[in-house]
């Protein structure tokens, strides 16, 4: 049997970040048997996804928009869904940077997506009813 889904809606601004990550970690701690390390992976992934939405989806102009986060303890995993109404964008279709990093690289970054894909057991993108849906799963084992 699954625990009740918990939901949070915040303004699409970066100053909401710690509110969002704390919500996810608390939900995971209170409704699952995930370890502190597994919860840290969830926290890191949500930081990367939320900041990506604010920076690239809304280009820091999202004050009149909201982002909705919901969490639910399913039978085999902790599920986190992040929804926004920025233009359709599938972050998981973007090219992750090569693992080998060189100091000669002109720009640095692109690691956030790799963190999400490494830390979470499942990642999924959908565009539904005008919204981007990012669905993350962390298994209990």
């Amino acid at each position: 049997m699954s625990a009740a889904r918990r939901e949070l809606e915040v303004a699409a601004t970066l100053d909401q970040l710690q509110h969002v990550t704390a919500f996810v970690v608390n939900a995971g701690r209170e409704t699952t048997r995930l370890t502190d390390h597994q919860l840290y992976h969830c926290e890191l992934s949500v930081d990367e996804i939320f900041s990506n939405i604010i920076e690239h989806g809304f280009k820091h102009q999202g004050a009149s928009h909201t982002v909705r986060i919901s969490c639910q303890a399913l039978s085999d995993r902790f599920e986190i869904i992040i929804r926004d109404d920025a233009p359709a964008f599938d972050p998981f279709k973007q090219q992750a940077p090569a693992k080998a990093f060189s100091l000669d690289d002109g720009s640095v970054g692109g690691w956030g997506l790799r963190f999400v894909m490494t830390c979470m057991d499942s990642v999924e993108y959908r565009h539904e009813d005008g919204e981007n849906w990012i669905i993350l799963g962390k298994k209990y084992t």
């Binding site: 970066l14 990550t21 840290y40 926290e43 640095v108 970054g109 690691w111 956030g112 963190f115």
Partner: protein, 111 residues
């Protein structure tokens, strides 16, 4: 929020950071490092033992400061990164780029 303390001198500057370096406050971390380098502190030891969270935004600031120190013929070396910082360094493939020391004294003594 992260606390950042800079001490030492032009020979070796010690930068101690504690707390979270996330996507909201990473620029504060980067500004502190850049301002130290601009002020002539180009041989830096960064103690990350008390950093319990670092996102990719924090890593970007770290690498930019590293490149800036190198360009000024200096270096930025890491001392005793916490397990969580070490994990993100490894995931980003940066553990082979930075010189990482198990203690602060080893890192300072490496200059």
């Amino acid at each position: 929020m992260a606390d950042i303390n800079i001490s030492g001198d032009a020979q070796v500057a010690l930068v101690e950071v504690s707390g979270r370096i996330d996507s909201m406050n990473a620029n504060q971390f980067g500004e502190a490092l850049n301002s130290a380098i601009d002020g002539g502190l180009i041989h830096i030891v960064l103690d990350l033992s008390s950093v319990d969270f670092m996102s990719s935004a924090g890593l970007r600031e770290l690498v930019n400061a590293f490149k800036k120190a190198k360009k000024a013929s200096g270096d930025l070396r890491l001392a005793q990164p916490s397990d969580r910082v070490r994990e993100v360094l490894e995931m980003a493939g940066l553990d082979s780029i930075f010189r990482i020391f198990e203690s602060r004294s080893e890192a300072v003594g490496s200059y």
